[in-house]
């Protein structure tokens, strides 16, 4: 039950008025009093496990955990005192005593919350020497699990349960043997994990990280026999700036292209081209099904986390899911066929690197469905935004000082509809722009579908296409998708077109995106909104805003593919799905 009742309390002498169900930590946050914290995450449930956020409350014998202690009228709270400083430092010291002290060689060096906290709280020496927990690292999947770095804050367990509805992780065993792992302690690749990478995002340490692809990319770049091409996903241009101290939501497309050239890539293409192509194929698929009134709703298939989820949790939806490959896999397939032909390069000597906001793309890349007839994958390496930021830094590229570059043609030409693919609702909007015009043969007056924009978990609208009402649904975050899809399966609601993105906020908040800057947090809707705004701004500034008006796409169909949904396009641009085990519990 929610009430509007307010409570007034004093935090460090500052009068604060907050809703009655608030916690002390929320009250302190509302007046910018920063209480150190570790296991707490504002968008996840509260478990009060770490005790770093202890505060003193008048009338309470012992300090209390402010993240879980409710406010009360007239309460007097002290967030800083010699006792509290000592307690917090002791708590962090004890965590460190069971932690590998290898900060300099750790993946999270500089972005680790534990490292920062230890410094902030004044931990300067290690007091206890003793046995430390020992676990093997699980490198079986794109999401690497290193339990020795785990501090058992449980954020990954909570994000996997509450936001993604995957429930893959749980604390197994007891006491000293406590470990966060999938069921039966199985490897991630044998679990219901969908590789979305949200555990990597919320982890305060390096207990979850992405599989490294930078070494293989560096090796390819220095191999004179290889023609190394790169393409970069829509969401990267809106987020990579954060790695170089730009404010979230600063588009840096031109600098990104220049930096990639400086890094040594022979051609710099745009995954956006693949996105435009996806829209043509998907809109065609949708119109066909709509006209025959069969296999509806059509569900998008761009998000590899969602595809993994669908195969494990909703295999009954396989017939409804679009057979279109993702923009990445479409473009990579074209690079080793169309582009190779055109340039007269042996496709076996082309090394395709994709820059993705996503850890699940690393899994998608390895799927047997995305392999060329000669056995090699169409995509040779997937780098996350974080990995690319590191590569630029490693190469000494001064990103902020770079001049703007432009993508190579023809696979670098794209419409604004492709740019917005990185935000939740973006694929839907892009599809509607094309589907509307294809169905009606009329020009769309207003290309912006504001109904599908915004970071809400589920958005619904009815669009009138020439007198036919089309019900659309957009979900981001898989728990939200579950809620939407269960209504489809129960027959409660009839949709024609559904877009699902696995990560909350869409690709702009994907599992491979930069750790948020100071003052913002992972899963922060404001962060997703700022990043999405950059994409909508890029779209708004383009004159080419509809995928079907992209001249490079026209040329591709004319010279190579034939028509949308042709035999050749099916061979290169479409895929298939199958139910996977272990099956998840919905």
């Amino acid at each position: 039950m929610t009430t509007d009742k307010k409570v007034t309390l004093w935090v460090d002498g500052v009068q604060v008025t907050v809703p009655e169900k608030s916690t002390i930590l929320q009250a302190a946050d509302s007046v910018n009093i920063n209480v150190p914290r570790l296991c707490y995450h504002p968008d996840l449930s509260v478990i009060g496990a770490c005790r770093v956020c202890v505060v003193e409350v008048d009338g309470q014998r012992n300090p209390v955990a402010s993240c879980s202690f409710p406010v009360a009228e007239g309460m007097k709270v002290k967030t800083s005192s010699p006792l509290l400083r000592r307690l917090r430092r002791d708590v962090v010291e004890l965590i460190l005593d069971n932690h590998p002290m290898d900060c300099q060689t750790c993946d999270r060096n500089g972005t680790c919350e534990l490292q920062k906290l230890a410094h902030d709280l004044g931990v300067r020496e290690r007091l206890f020497e003793g046995e430390r927990k020992r676990f093997p690292q699980d490198e079986s999947s794109p999401v690497i699990r290193n339990p020795e770095k785990c501090i058992l804050c449980g954020r990954c367990v909570r994000v996997c349960d509450e936001v993604q509805g995957v429930h893959n992780l749980s604390v197994q065993n007891r006491g000293f043997h406590n470990v966060v792992a999938p069921a039966h302690g199985h490897k991630m690749i044998d679990s219901v994990c969908i590789h979305c990478g949200q555990c990597v995002n919320v982890c305060p340490t390096a207990a979850f990280t992405e599989q490294d692809a930078t070494e293989s990319v560096f090796a390819a770049l220095s191999n004179p026999d290889l023609h190394v091409v790169v393409h970069t996903a829509p969401a990267i241009r809106a987020t990579i700036g954060e790695g170089f101290e730009y404010r979230p939501g600063t588009p840096v497309t031109g600098k990104l292209v220049t930096a990639l050239r400086m890094a040594g890539f022979h051609k710099v293409f745009d995954t956006n081209f693949g996105a435009d192509l996806t829209i043509i194929e998907e809109a065609n698929e949708f119109i066909n099904r709509l006209q025959k009134n069969e296999r509806l709703p059509l569900i998008t298939s761009c998000s590899p986390g969602w595809v993994n989820f669908m195969e494990r949790f909703y295999p009954e939806l396989i017939p409804l899911t679009s057979t279109c490959k993702s923009p990445m896999s479409m473009l990579s397939a074209l690079l080793k066929t169309y582009y190779a032909d055109k340039m007269g390069i042996d496709p076996k000597k082309i090394f395709v690197v994709a820059i993705m906001p996503c850890t699940a793309k690393k899994f998608e890349m390895g799927r047997p469905e995305h392999r060329a007839p000669w056995g090699a994958p169409y995509t040779d390496a997937v780098l996350t935004t974080r990995e690319l930021i590191w590569m630029f830094k490693c190469l000494g590229i001064e990103f902020r000082d770079l001049a703007d570059g432009a993508f190579d043609s023809p696979l670098g030409v794209s419409s604004g509809a492709a740019d917005i693919f990185g935000a939740t609702g973006g694929v839907m909007e892009a599809a509607l722009r094309t589907a509307y015009e294809k169905v009606t043969n009329k020009e769309l007056g207003e290309v912006e579908f504001m109904q599908v924009r915004g970071v809400e978990g589920v958005k619904e609208a009815t669009i009138d296409i020439d007198g036919t009402p089309i019900n659309i649904g957009v979900a981001n975050g898989l728990q939200n998708a579950k809620n939407l899809l269960d209504r489809v399966l129960s027959g409660e609601k009839v949709y024609h077109l559904i877009e699902v993105m696995a990560c909350p906020g869409g690709c702009v908040a994907g599992g491979g995106q930069p750790y948020p800057p100071h003052g913002m947090h992972v899963l922060d809707p404001e962060l997703a909104r700022l990043r999405a705004r950059a994409l909508y701004a890029i779209d708004g500034a383009k004159t080419l805003r509809k995928s079907h008006e992209n001249p490079a796409i026209d040329a591709l169909y004319e010279n190579f593919l034939g028509a949308p949904n042709s035999h050749r396009s099916h061979e290169l641009l479409h895929t298939h799905y199958q139910p996977k085990y272990p099956r998840g519990v919905k």
Binding site: N173, V192, P315, L489
Partner: protein, 179 residues
Amino acid sequence: MKSELMLQEKAKAKAVLPEAVVIFIEDCLATPHPGSHLIPVLHKVQEHFGYLDTEHMNAVSTLMQIPSAKVTGVASFYHFFKFTPRGKHRISLCMGTACFVKGAGNVLDKVKGLLGIDVGQTTPDRLFTIDVARCVGACALAPVMIVDEKVYAGVKPDQVAKILAEYGFDPKKKSSPVK
């Protein structure tokens, strides 16, 4: 739309568990908080099989619609739940203070030596499992060894072979390879 695939999965899960357990789970599902019956369900499964196998726990997960990571998280928390097959006869040696002082350690070493297994393990012929108890509350009888329900008092190491023989222990089989 009831999912055909889901029904198939449930049928497969039911085939893994004994009927009585399936009925018990269905009764639990009819209560307001089905998830809170997970531990009693696991008890029933272990009662039947003697231990909890991956397959058993997955079946419980499917039928109760509790994620299997939660099922194994709960099961691995409690010492009572076993994940390896149990022997036909369970040998429990008391390691309480009184028994230990009276030489229970030597008795345990003898049992381990004769059977060729460690505490918590089962012989390859699935005849014996060795467990240790903290205190069985019969200090006057120390050292105490319990096989199934039968209590042996004041056990000396040289009596162990004879006791085990009552349950089918064959010293000649000792040379067979033990894993």
